[in-house]
């Protein structure tokens, strides 16, 4: 059993020794890659005289390897030129571990930004603005409904961003309004309030609704950011929710943070168009591809994306997926006017994103200059028949559940982004990252050597078993980090590992001092070993369990450095309990087991006679 676990630890920590190859990863949006693409890539590279090897790929992505960073960068430009803008060429590192290792899931650890360099942003989503927007929308909605029902009011007011009031001249009108509104706003709480001769109807958003708005907004912003980050061509970006209203964006290896900021802060937009009529002049429309078909989209914008106030994918009464789009009051009027006259035509939604590409050209001196050019990328994301004059809330049907979900995300990413502010930003240069990693690893090495020497000196043969256990422990920590957990190794994480090295020998120190004590009490060696392990076990368990609890609390509550530290500490506690107790025991059984032993090599201890004298 012990042997198996040790082998496992070895197997899964070994991949970290294989250096990565510089590589380019080529993907294309939605479409699949074919052998013709590979042909284009290889010819382009040969033409540019860039050495490459190991071209491999499947339907969705293609990987090309290079010997050096310079080759990699030259190749990126060459391939981008050859393939055009529909393809994303990202700088990447390709593992060189043998295939069988990859097949069993043995890979390298993910390194955090502080260890490999890159840009880190923490963005805060303005939830108040999102709520206010939703509430303003509700307000004009209420106004329209009351007008349609011919109920007179004495004013509508926004009290806070989750509370609005409608004033009436008499109680009758109020109760009439209430019964009209209550069906239209299931997510609001209604309450009557009288101030003098004014009859007020309070409408408050329920706590659940507020939470839902928060969640939707965050999700929408995250999607937007993801889309924009994709445009940057970063190999393994992280876009993660942190806390209730923040999003972390980490872009490893990005060399130009200023450009990254520009792109992240750009906002994608939506446009609603009609399909061009048959026979329209070719100047009045533009063709777009939609699910393999060419669609001619009329140039007139019938509605701008900022009129969309909410989008969600839901199920209709028959359980079929649909996308429900809510417009604000003005948008509602606008779309109603247009669609009333165009029932039976197709309505198209375009997603417009600003992207960047690098152009290389020769300047007057014949030197290569790189220029970043921004361009608009327009994509047709919906093409559906107008069945009736559309009200301000309408649905798009005839989609699969996946399509409905994708579409609602896309629309949201183009329209709903609540304002975001950068609250934390840090740029770690690649050299600094490497220095951090090297210094950290040196720390681990020196610390291990010092501890190993001390244990050997103080506990002799027993110390040696503790050292074997210590090394096993480090291997196991690396193995767990590389295989099981999607954990990222950061600098605080390394510190956590180093600290476990110091504390991992603690269990052995406890056991060995206990054995020495038993020996000084005159207990025969084999029994002393037994007693030492048994007695020390409860102590080790109690001590480690409490430390583990603390680490767990840190993990649950903390973020960033605190979390990184607590993860490695927890792993370290678990692996060290195993290696220090089970590991050393089996080694000692190997050395001293099955024979009678007169003396144990465990360093100096008081003999039983001295012990009795005190």
């Amino acid at each position: 059993m012990v042997l198996l676990i040790v082998l496992w630890g070895l197997l899964y920590s070994v991949p970290n020794l294989y250096p990565d190859d510089e590589a380019l990863q080529i993907t294309t949006e939605g479409l699949s890659l074919n052998s013709a693409d590979i042909e284009v890539v290889t010819t382009a590279l040969e033409a540019a005289q860039v050495e490459f090897f190991g071209v491999e790929g499947n339907d969705t992505n293609l990987l090309v390897r290079f010997d050096s960073v310079e080759d990699q960068l030259r190749a990126k430009t060459a391939i981008e030129d050859a393939l055009g803008a529909d393809y994303i060429v990202a700088l990447n590192l390709a593992p060189t571990t043998p295939n069988w290792m990859q097949a069993i899931g043995a890979g390298k650890m993910n390194l955090g930004l502080d260890l490999q360099g890159g840009v880190h942003f923490l963005m805060e989503v303005d939830m108040d603005a999102a709520l206010e927007r939703r509430m303003n929308d509700n307000l004009s909605n209420v106004r329209t409904i009351l007008r349609e029902e011919r109920i007179r009011t004495r004013g509508l007011n926004l009290i806070s961003n989750s509370h609005l009031e409608v004033r009436f001249a008499n109680a009758g009108e109020r109760s009439q309004a209430r019964s009209e509104l209550i069906d239209n706003f299931p997510e609001m709480l209604f309450q009557n309030r009288d101030v003098g001769d004014i009859f007020i109807l309070d409408m408050r958003m329920t706590a659940d609704t507020i939470l839902q708005v928060h969640r939707d907004t965050l999700q929408a912003n995250r999607t937007t950011l993801l889309n924009r980050v994709d445009a940057l061509g970063v190999a393994e970006p992280t876009v993660q929710q942190q806390g209730a209203n923040r999003i972390v964006v980490e872009l490893p290896g990005v060399q130009d943070p200023a450009q990254a900021i520009r792109i992240l802060q750009r906002i994608a937009t939506l446009e609603f168009h009609l399909e061009a009529e048959i026979g329209a002049t070719s100047l009045s429309y533009e063709p777009y591809e939609y699910q393999g078909l060419l669609v001619n989209v009329d140039n007139d914008v019938i509605l701008q994306g900022d009129r969309v106030s909410n989008v969600r994918s839901t199920l209709d009464q028959n359980g079929l997926p649909q996308v429900q789009i809510n417009l604000d009051a003005q948008g509602g009027t606008q779309i109603n006017r247009v669609t009333r006259d165009n029932v039976g035509r197709m309505m198209d939604i375009l997603l417009i994103e600003t992207k960047s590409r690098t152009n290389t050209s020769l300047n007057e001196d014949g030197e290569e200059v790189e220029e970043i050019e921004f361009y608009e990328d327009k994509r047709l994301i919906s093409h559906a028949t107008i069945r009736t004059a559309l009200p301000r809330t309408f649905v798009i049907t005839g989609l699969t559940a996946r399509e409905a979900n994708d579409l609602s995300l896309l629309i949201r990413s183009g329209s709903l982004a609540a304002p975001m502010t950068i609250v934390e930003q840090s740029v770690i240069g690649p050299t600094m990252g490497r220095e951090n990693l090297e210094a950290g690893l040196r720390g681990v090495q020196v610390a291990s050597v010092l501890v190993v020497l001390f244990m050997l000196f103080y506990y002799r043969v027993f110390g040696m078993t503790a050292n074997v256990a210590l090394i096993m422990n480090i291997l196991l920590i690396f193995a767990v980090l590389s295989s099981f957990l999607p954990a990222t190794l950061t600098l605080p994480g390394i510190v956590g590992i180093v600290l476990t090295i110091g504390m991992a020998v603690d269990a052995n120190v406890l056991i060995f001092t206990r054995i020495r004590e038993e020996l000084s009490n005159g207990v025969p060696p084999q029994q002393a070993i037994d007693a030492g392990y048994n007695r020390a076990f409860t102590t080790i368990l109690d001590a480690n369990l409490t430390t583990f609890l603390v680490a767990l609390v840190l993990f649950t509550i903390g973020t960033g450095p605190v979390k990184g530290f607590s993860v490695t500490l927890m792993i370290g506690i678990l692996t060290s309990m195993f290696t220090a107790i089970v590991g050393t025991r089996s080694l000692i059984n190997l050395i001293y087991g099955g024979r009678s032993v007169q003396k144990l090599s465990i360093g100096r201890y008081r003999s039983s006679k001295q012990a009795q004298a005190t």
Binding site: D114, E124, A258, I261, Q265, T421, I422, V423, E424, Q425, S426, V427, I428, G429, T431, M432, E435, N436, A439, R442, G443, V446, A447, L450, V451, F454, M455, L491, P492, I494, V495, V498, L499, G502, M503, V505, D506, V509, L510, T513, R535, T538, T539, D542, A543, N544, T546, T547, L549, V550, A551, V553, L554, I557, G558, T559, G560, P561, V562, F565
Partner: protein, 307 residues
């Protein structure tokens, strides 16, 4: 044991001094808690901090603070929040500020200057993390008290928690006395100290429990003393190996982890002292008895035996 009274006096003194220092001096909060931009630069050779400071002062960065950063070739320039500029813009500008300062210094010096990186930090995040950290400590202390009360006895919980509080207050006190920067790394170190100090205290308590159960004779004080002596060598060895490791991080681990290492070194030393003198002292003051630690007999459970 006369040492007990002396230790109690020393600790009380340390805690009082720490609290006074914390109220008067407060802590030297890092950028994480004060907001601002930090720019890290590397010079080809040794940097003259005063010269850099002079250049900055004369070029409109009156509030800039220049500190050395690890080696004598690396510096860190800290700029406080510019209240006239929108927060959003400041965050976006961190990169440009870094580049501008690097260019400014390059034009005023012959040295090879490279920009290592720049950060913008909003105190909002730091404050929240500190809140989380504080909350984390309270939750952790609560869970520990419950765990120890269940595994040992309530008096031991009080001992452990008093020892932990002592460690944290004194470590923070030392930070404030020597005006060391308190940032998120040191906050994480504080949390680690809880884990470490607890480990020590539990080992001692465990021995006390065992001795109370095994030995029929002896006063509580004698038994606590015996337990302390029995675990002393282990306590010292473990602290020694941990310190060995921490000093190696401090010396070769690079600037980014130094604050962490220093905080932990102070914490480990204080923690070792407190688990020996404070926790056991509290247990004695609370008049621990043998009955407190007897294994409770389940009614009839032992009498029935195996069927």
């Amino acid at each position: 044991m006369g040492v007990r009274k002396i230790a109690a006096t020393i600790s009380a003194l340390l805690v009082v001094v720490s609290i006074i220092s914390l109220t008067i001096n407060s802590l030297e909060f890092g950028l994480d808690f004060t907001s601002g931009t930090s720019v890290r630069l590397n010079y080809g050779g040794t940097v003259d901090l005063d010269e850099v400071n002079g250049i900055l002062q004369n070029n409109g960065y009156e509030d800039a603070v220049v500190v050395s950063f690890g080696t004598d070739r690396d510096i860190r320039i800290i700029l406080p929040v510019d209240e006239t500029v929108d927060v959003q813009d400041q965050a976006g500008q961190a990169v440009e500020v870094g580049a501008t300062i690097a260019a400014l210094l390059r034009s005023n010096s012959d040295a090879q200057i490279s920009l290592l990186g720049s950060d913008y930090v909003s105190a909002k995040v730091g404050e929240e993390l500190a809140e989380q950290g504080g909350l984390g400590m309270l939750v952790a202390l609560g869970i520990i008290m419950v765990y120890i009360a269940v595994r040992f006895q309530f008096k031991f919980s009080v001992g452990a928690v008093v020892a932990l509080a002592h460690d944290l207050i004194v470590t923070l006190g030392i930070f404030s006395l020597v005006r060391m920067e308190f940032n998120l790394n040191t906050l994480a170190a504080m949390l680690a100290i809880i884990g470490y100090s607890l480990n020590d205290t539990i080992v001692v308590s465990d021995r006390i429990r065992e001795n109370f159960r095994r030995m029929r004779r002896g006063t509580p004080i004698e038994m606590v003393n015996k337990s302390l002596n029995q675990t002393l060598s282990r306590t010292l060895i473990t602290s020694f190996t941990t310190l060995l490791v921490l000093f190696s991080i401090l010396i070769i681990g690079g600037e980014s982890t130094q604050g962490f290492a220093v905080a932990l070194i102070i914490g480990v030393i204080i923690g070792t002292y407190s688990s020996v003198y404070i926790a056991s002292n509290v247990i004695i003051y609370m008049k621990v008895t043998r009955e407190d630690l007897m294994i409770p007999l389940k009614e009839g459970a032992d009498l029935e035996g195996h069927p």
